[in-house]
Amino acid sequence: MDPRPESLLLVEDDEATRTFLADNLAADGFQVASATAPDEAIRAIEVRQPDLVVLDLILEGGSGLGVLDRVRAAEPGATRIDPDLPIVVLSARASEVDRLRGFARGADDYVVKPFSYAELVARVRSVLRRSSARPLRGLVRVGELTIDPVTRAVRLGGRSVHLSAKEFALLSALAAEPARVFTKAELLRDVWGYASVGATRTIDAHACRLRRKLGGAGRPLVLNVRGVGYRLAEPA
């Protein structure tokens, strides 16, 4: 099965640049959505949950720096926006001061217009590669599993899954870093707030129930790593 194409949100108000850049990025295998104004960009980030945003700074009705600020200030659990969402700034503002300002406000990279398209794509891929191992916040997607921290809704392959508060917290903790094995001590500390590691049967019981509720996909999603702890299964 082909991996899911990486999704990009292109925030650019110049129609020619937006059209041709989207055309080229789509031809290179990215799934591209676009927005032209700051508010539209924030809505698109919340709804579409892109893997990366390519952000122009001079936009209709405001500055792209405002979008950067709103993303970086997003509170996990209170919004669907991931504050660590990778953002590559694309701007005609070329001075050193402008570039430093972009980085200071939270840009992962800053590309000055006019740019080499090949270099832009290389930079986008590089930022995506560096960010792929980051803990996920905001609306979390792991394969077919979606966790919404705002509504506390969990869906698996389009099916709604009802979880208790502790099961939800346990799943959120595991999904934050899907490839990592969490020790039982870590989970007890982060999910239950226990300082000691005595109550491992509590975590085993919750993990067992979680595995059963998420079992509809055919293979277990919550894996027991014997003698260590738990992790999520790799997405299919």
Binding site: A16, T17, F20, D23, N24, R93, A94, V112, P114
Partner: protein, 226 residues
Amino acid sequence: MTASFAIAGWIAAAVLALRARALAGRLRAVGDAEHELRGPLAAVALAVESARRRPALRGLADSLESELVRARAGLADLTAARSGRPGSAVAARPELEPAGFERLVRSAAQAWGRTRRVSVDWRAGSVPLRRDAGALAKALGNVLSNAAEHGAGPIELRASRRSGDVLIEVTNPVSPAARKSVRGLRRERGRGLGIARRSAAALGGELEFEAERARVRTALVVPVDG
């Protein structure tokens, strides 16, 4: 006496202030022009990239490559003029991989090939250019436009190796109008060849220019690394 010195000093200060103001205005105009060019140039480059993906438009896209490199070099010149630090702009300019050297030369020829017959005879092999690609595009563009504007008939472009250099020779017959003034023809004319000469110097090379009654030869000598 003291009053005369004071008046002279005041006049000198006023003249300097006016000149400083005029210079600030010019630099602001250069900065505005530089900023205004960035967006459109980015859009055109993306349009060319899109065209390159369509077989029917690939030739057109290839012919625009050297023109885009040249335009970006012009923009870098504006940046350097505004900041007064030409070295920083040059340092940021791209180098060319071996295949890119020949491709850029063919692209420059193709750009003129739409209005003139331009033949390319590449005998320089695969050579790297670890220098400013923008300077090469500017030199080539101006040499070819000079040939097209002041010459007549087909333009021949021949690239070969001479010692450690690549020699790019552009020759074409002289137009009847230009032939009337052979003395003028023997002088390098205009801004274009001046830019070509300075660009060649920026590459560490030089520009050779020979005008005869029937033919003009302009050669760009570009040192290469290996």
